[in-house]
């Protein structure tokens, strides 16, 4: 349905119905929002941050008066272009909006209600809701972490976290920072840190970069990605940074903060090789093992997912970026980790597709621009798949743990406790480990430990359950007073289940889809 005049009448951003609500103002969300808006849709763009850009184009607050914000970024001009289009259009940018759930009402003219709470950290006193005819999820990703002895010491920070703090706050976690883990992000982080004045004694990568050599066709198909790697590589060489592949930080030293790390060689399966440990002095460690799509808003709505080559779950999307739930699109990292450029392409496809759907009630099957974008998307997705395969955590990583290592940082649950739940008490999946140990039950709801717990719970054989995508029906904390002060609404009236087991809609499986009790 095209927008009606009444939609635009009210100045109150919450008092109108949008054609499209975009969640996330990173590359994908920005591209989707400006594209749909330029095609005549009324668009609300919600994001937790105060400024657009997402994680990739995170940049300093205007108060810094930075004259060279691009110095910490790759391909800044692409972002500047999106920002110009956003400023020139009439997208309602709702900054500081933390979306905690998205509701869908079947068959309604305005099927979508996006519930958010405002404030820098979502600590606002008043709930808001945005109503829309369609929704585009562009919620990006967060970093995958695998624990190791000493990783809870102050000075150990996420690699993406160090990057974010640097890009937005112009600060470094230390003067001498080891960068470790796996994935192409490590090179970018090391290059940024070194350029900004930190000494980076080593980049420690668990995978072997030889893996890329086994996939020459995919590499050659995406020259821009290669160029990016060359830029980072050159920057690193310029700073004397040494890249150690097939290596991992297996111990952090220090009492109240990082003083040094032990780096060990690992085999093809990331199993540490005894006797290869070397101590490197540093005052900070930036660590990360790839990215995980942030899809909890979608899984709560029942969207179909797919397993990626590095073991995460991404949304299953069709050629027009549609999820399996009607009226819900997704773009960027939510559909599988692929980087900023891919996110922009997918955001644009989604923007065009949503506009076609709202205006014509159909997919833009014959749109030439879409065909071109889809070609680029396929090429970049192939590259992303190759990257995911190269950097997928090896089976042997858990051997660098000791039983006292904390897996769950929030609830301080150790490796030993998780292993006991599996070996002695019948846990066969992350959800049961959570129920029996509280790993993943704390503030972060398993975002930090989820991948590690799933690995530790996943044994071999039929007794073990395949990992299922995590579901977090509350995508963020909500004060009870705020929740209780929402306007009452009629619960969606679903008919009672018919009597008799044969007719029961027995589609439910005890598969980890429900969060457990405390």
């Amino acid at each position: 349905m095209p927008k009606s005049p009444s939609d635009r009448a009210a100045g109150d951003p919450y008092g109108r119905v949008y054609d499209l609500a975009v969640i996330g103002a990173g590359c994908a969300g920005l591209a989707g929002a400006v594209t749909a808006s330029e095609r005549g849709l009324s668009v609300a763009l919600l994001d937790t941050a105060g400024r657009i850009g997402g994680q990739f184009y995170r940049h300093p607050d205007p108060a810094f008066g930075a004259v060279r914000p691009e110095a910490l970024h790759h391909d800044w001009s692409a972002f500047a272009g999106l920002r110009r289009r956003l400023e020139a259009g009439d997208v309602a940018h709702l900054a500081g909006h933390h979306v905690w759930t998205v509701e869908r009402q079947d068959g309604a003219d305005t099927p979508w209600t996006v519930h958010a709470i405002t404030g820098a950290d979502g600590d606002g006193e008043h709930p808001v809701r945005v109503q829309a005819r369609t929704v585009l999820l562009a919620t990006g990703a967060y970093e995958r972490q695998l624990p190791f002895p000493g990783w809870t010491l102050p000075g150990v920070v996420g690699a993406a976290g160090a990057q974010a703090m640097l890009k937005a706050g112009l600060v470094l976690p230390g003067r001498r920072v080891v960068v470790a883990g796996s994935g192409p992000l490590l090179l970018a982080v090391a290059a940024s840190l070194a350029t900004a004045g930190a000494r980076v004694p080593a980049v420690v990568e668990a995978a072997g970069y030889l893996g890329y050599a086994r996939r020459p066709a995919v590499l050659a198909a995406d020259p821009q990605k290669l160029a990016e790697a060359v830029v980072h590589g050159a920057a690193l060489l310029g700073h004397g940074v040494r890249l150690r592949t097939r290596s991992a930080v297996t111990q952090v030293h220090g009492t109240d903060r990082v003083e040094a790390v032990t780096v060990s060689r690992v085999d093809r399966d990331w199993r540490p090789v005894r006797g290869t440990g070397r101590r490197i002095a540093c005052d900070a460690l930036a660590v990360g093992h790839g990215l995980v799509p942030q899809i909890e808003l979608a899984t709560s709505l029942g969207c179909a997912t797919r397993r990626t080559k590095d073991g995460t779950h991404a949304l299953a999307l069709d050629a027009f970026q549609r999820t399996s739930v009607p009226g819900l699109w997704a773009a960027g990292e939510t559909g599988g980790i692929g980087g900023a450029q891919l996110a922009r392409v997918e955001g644009e496809i989604a923007g065009i597709a949503v506009a076609a759907q709202v205006r014509d009630g159909a997919a833009p099957a014959r749109d030439g621009r879409v065909r071109e974008l889809r070609r680029r998307r396929e090429r970049m997705r192939a590259f992303a798949g190759a990257m995911a395969a190269v950097h997928a955590p090896g089976k042997g990583w858990a051997e660098w743990l000791d039983d006292a290592t904390e897996v769950c940082r929030c609830e301080e649950v150790t490796v030993g406790a998780v292993r006991e739940a599996v070996d002695a008490y019948g846990a066969r999946d992350a959800r049961t480990v959570k129920l029996l140990t509280r790993a993943g039950m704390g503030w972060c709801q398993g975002r930090t430990c989820g991948a590690a717990v799933a690995c530790l719970a996943a044994g071999e054989g039929p007794l073990f359950l395949p990992p299922s995508p995590e579901r977090r029906p509350l995508a963020g904390p909500v004060p009870l007073g705020v929740l209780g002060s929402l306007d009452p609404s009629e619960p969606s009236a679903a008919p009672a289940a018919p009597a008799g087991p044969a007719e029961q809609p027995d589609t439910d499986r005890p598969d980890g889809n429900s969060g457990p009790r405390d």
Binding site: E103, S300, L301, G302, E411, A421, A424, Y425, G426, A427, R428, D429, R431, T432, L435, L436, M441, G442, W443, Q445, P462, L463, F464, L465, R471, R472, P473, L474, P477, V478, P479, L480, G481, L483, G484, L486, P488, S489, P491, S492, A493, A494, A496, A497, A499, G500, P501, Q504, P505, D506, T507, D508, P510, D511, N513, S514, G515, P516, R517, D518
Partner: protein
């Protein structure tokens, strides 16, 4: 939980038991409950009798199981906002007392001695010292572990029962799973909300329906709520058979820190979709009871499906329609609390022991008017 209790008590009676679950330990409703061990919310009758027996058994079990199962004999506090609902509570409490439930009226101005953060404008309430709480997933896992340690319980997880094996005369001979047939003279249906499906595999009808409930979980807190606190409305909601959404806040602390807020009830099939309205009502009711919670954040919510039978009583005992088949399911929201007594009854039936109470009201075939039948000991 019910299956774990059946296995535990059967093993204690000298039987050898195999527990089969298509998921992990506590993968169904057990893992989605609050762990209520309540007598306070039950009208005098067979369910209350079962609950009182269970209360005793839970106390015994708490000596057997490690402290990690978080058994807390914390007591319940049922509060009334006005004189009218206090009258209703008074009447219920008097009748419960005659049935063996300990309780004591607390005046409105005395409530805050028991619960300092309770809203000051409540009319009064009743304290029920026998109410208790347990962490249900840990309790089930440890009960199974105790059974396995006895050497008489085998655990087969991740195996779906695809058929019930029968002899020529129609009696049960075991079950079929993807990994093969398991032969046994008795099969106990402890499939909870999915118990109707297992009954169907055995060729009988057992109308277990899912009744959805949401629980809100707060950020970790110190002890701010000492008892299991709920309002008089909860009792009415529990007894109702309505399909529509009902909410009445049940608020309690946990040893781990978070406060849990139940309980909503609605019949919507197995739909896990978040109901914002259910959460809104739970939060509003909880903060009305405990204003201190308004600035506390909910960090999680989860849904579970209570196994509901039309008359709100579980099905416990042999099914006269299929010799060798026993049922132990349909406990609705009280399965954790009622599990030990259910397990003991099943074990006594199987081992030919003396039954601890009259189990006729729990006859599994009571919903079939055509074939009333009488339970018989196999």
């Amino acid at each position: 939980m019910v299956g774990a209790a059946c296995a535990y008590y059967a093993a204690r009676s000298g039987l050898s038991v195999t527990v089969i679950d298509r998921g992990p330990v506590a993968g169904g409703t057990t893992g989605a409950g609050e762990g209520n061990l309540l007598v306070s919310d039950k009208e005098p009758g067979p369910e209350l009798e079962l609950a009182l027996l269970s209360t005793r058994l839970w106390r015994e079990l708490s000596d057997v199981l490690p402290p990690r199962v978080e058994y807390e004999a914390k007591g319940g506090l049922v509060v009334a906002s006005g004189e009218a609902s206090l009258m209703v509570l008074r009447d219920l409490a008097a009748r419960q007392e005659r049935a063996g439930v300990k309780n004591q009226e607390v005046a409105g101005d005395g409530l805050r001695d028991l619960e300092p953060h309770l809203s000051p404008d409540l009319a009064g309430g009743f304290h029920y010292p026998q109410d208790a709480q347990v962490q249900p997933a840990l309790a089930a896992a440890h009960l199974l572990r105790a059974g396995r340690d006895s050497g008489r319980v085998l655990l087969r997880l991740g195996e779906d029962v695809t058929g019930v094996l029968k002899g020529v005369s129609g009696d049960v001979r075991g079950v079929r799973t993807a990994s093969g047939d398991l032969r046994a003279p008795w099969v106990v249906n402890a499939a909870g909300t999915w118990g109707g499906r297992l009954a169907h595999l055995a060729g009988v009808d057992l109308p277990v329906l899912p009744r959805r409930g949401f629980v809100l979980v707060t950020e970790p807190l110190p002890r701010v709520v000492r008892h299991k606190v709920y309002t008089a409305d909860y009792v009415a909601d529990v007894a109702s058979g309505s399909a529509a959404l009902q909410t009445s806040a049940v608020v309690e602390g946990t040893p781990a820190g978070p406060v849990l807020i139940g309980a909503s009830r609605e019949r919507v099939g197995f739909d896990r979709t978040l109901s914002v309205e259910a959460l809104r009502r739970l939060a509003a009711q909880a903060t009305r009871l405990f204003p201190v919670l308004s600035r506390v954040r909910a960090i999680r919510t989860y849904a579970g499906f209570r196994p509901y039978l039309p008359d709100h009583l579980p099905a416990i005992g042999p099914d006269p329609r299929v010799p060798g088949l026993l049922h132990a399911c349909g406990h609705e929201g009280a399965g954790i609390g009622l599990a030990p007594a259910t397990g003991m009854i099943i074990a006594r039936i199987l081992s030919g022991g003396e039954l601890p109470m009259d189990v006729a009201p729990f006859r599994p075939d009571r919903f079939k008017q055509a074939s009333p039948g009488t339970p018989r000991t196999p």
